[in-house]
């Protein structure tokens, strides 16, 4: 149920990427897909009544094995979020350059190799 909702969010982003004409809307659809994938990976590792995988005061490693949520997807997603920021900067740079070249954000107008 909860995974399906994540997938619906992914498909909304996919709709934005494939069906929108404005290049900023396409970037926003990409961001929505990214959010949904990150959330899905984190939710995959959740354990019922799970605790954060941090060894607190007076806790043993056995307690952590029994109760903590999965730390591996969290480590993946932590880097993934930061890389997403870099990719976004790249996409926005492309969008700004295209705007300077064509004077519009509409991708159906960007059909000339030389303007």
């Amino acid at each position: 149920m909860i995974y399906t909702l994540c997938f619906v969010l992914f498909l909304v982003g996919l709709y934005g990427v494939t069906c929108k004409k404005n290049i900023v809307k396409i970037i926003l659809g990409f961001l929505i897909m990214e959010h949904s994938v990150n959330l899905f990976l984190i939710l995959l590792g959740w354990k019922k009544d799970g605790i954060t995988p941090v060894l607190g005061k007076g806790m043993s490693s056995d307690m952590l094995v029994r109760n903590a949520v999965d730390p591996l997807p969290q480590a993946m997603v932590l880097i993934l979020i930061v890389i997403g920021l870099g990719i976004l900067a790249l996409m926005v740079a492309f969008a700004i350059r295209l705007y300077q070249k064509y004077g519009t954000f509409d991708i159906t107008e960007m059909n000339k190799l030389k303007h």
Binding site: T4, F7, L9, V12, G45, P53, L72, V77, G86, V92
Partner: protein
């Protein structure tokens, strides 16, 4: 209980996504994306990932700043209307088919709240949780994985990040360098 809460939050995110994609004002679309990221950060807090939540919040602020930089300096020409009707119909049908396949695929996953690490004792995460503190000395297992067990992975991913940022700088810099040297090849942008 937490399942209902997370479901409601994701439902809110879906509504925010639809608003962001369908509104004609680019600035409100960007603000909606900010709302989606903040709700995602709240979700991370509830499922035991406070590190991710704080990172997401910081990155979300930077995302909004970058996107506003992209939209606000230019004239906000509202481009409404989708592609032509035939292509739109085909795309929506394909997305629906993808949705059906996805529902099939999710039946094979472990249930929510009962992940792989509690069913497979030999999963690598169990070893990280059991021996992480003794082997690395970090009491946050997340940093033990990031900087010790999988440090080489982290290095490679940071190389990707560096390449992305460098590419963005290279794309943005071409025009100013041309202006400075005054060299044009008949292809200047204006």
């Amino acid at each position: 209980m937490i399942e209902t809460l997370i479901s409601m939050l994701i439902f809110f995110m879906i509504i925010g996504a639809i608003i962001a994609l369908e509104t004609t004002d680019l600035l409100s679309a960007v603000i909606s994306i900010g709302a989606i990221g903040s709700v995602a950060s709240i979700c991370y807090l509830f499922v035991g990932a406070p590190d991710i939540a704080s990172t997401q919040l910081v990155v979300e602020v930077l995302t909004i700043i970058i996107l506003i930089r992209a939209t606000i300096r230019h004239d906000l020409i509202t481009i409404d209307g989708d592609r032509e009707f035939f292509g739109l119909t085909i795309t929506l049908a394909l997305i629906f088919v993808l949705f059906l396949f996805g529902i099939k695929a999710f039946n094979n996953l472990f249930d929510f709240g009962n992940p792989a690490i509690s069913q497979l004792p030999e999963a690598p995460s169990n070893r990280y949780l059991a021996c992480g503190f003794q082997e690395t000395g970090a009491n946050n297992i997340l940093s033990a994985i990031l900087f010790d067990y999988r440090g080489l992975d982290t290095f490679g991913q940071l190389c990707v990040l560096f390449a992305g940022i460098w590419g963005a700088f290279a794309i943005m810099r071409v025009q100013s360098r041309r202006k400075k040297t005054g060299k044009g090849d008949g292809n200047e942008d204006r």
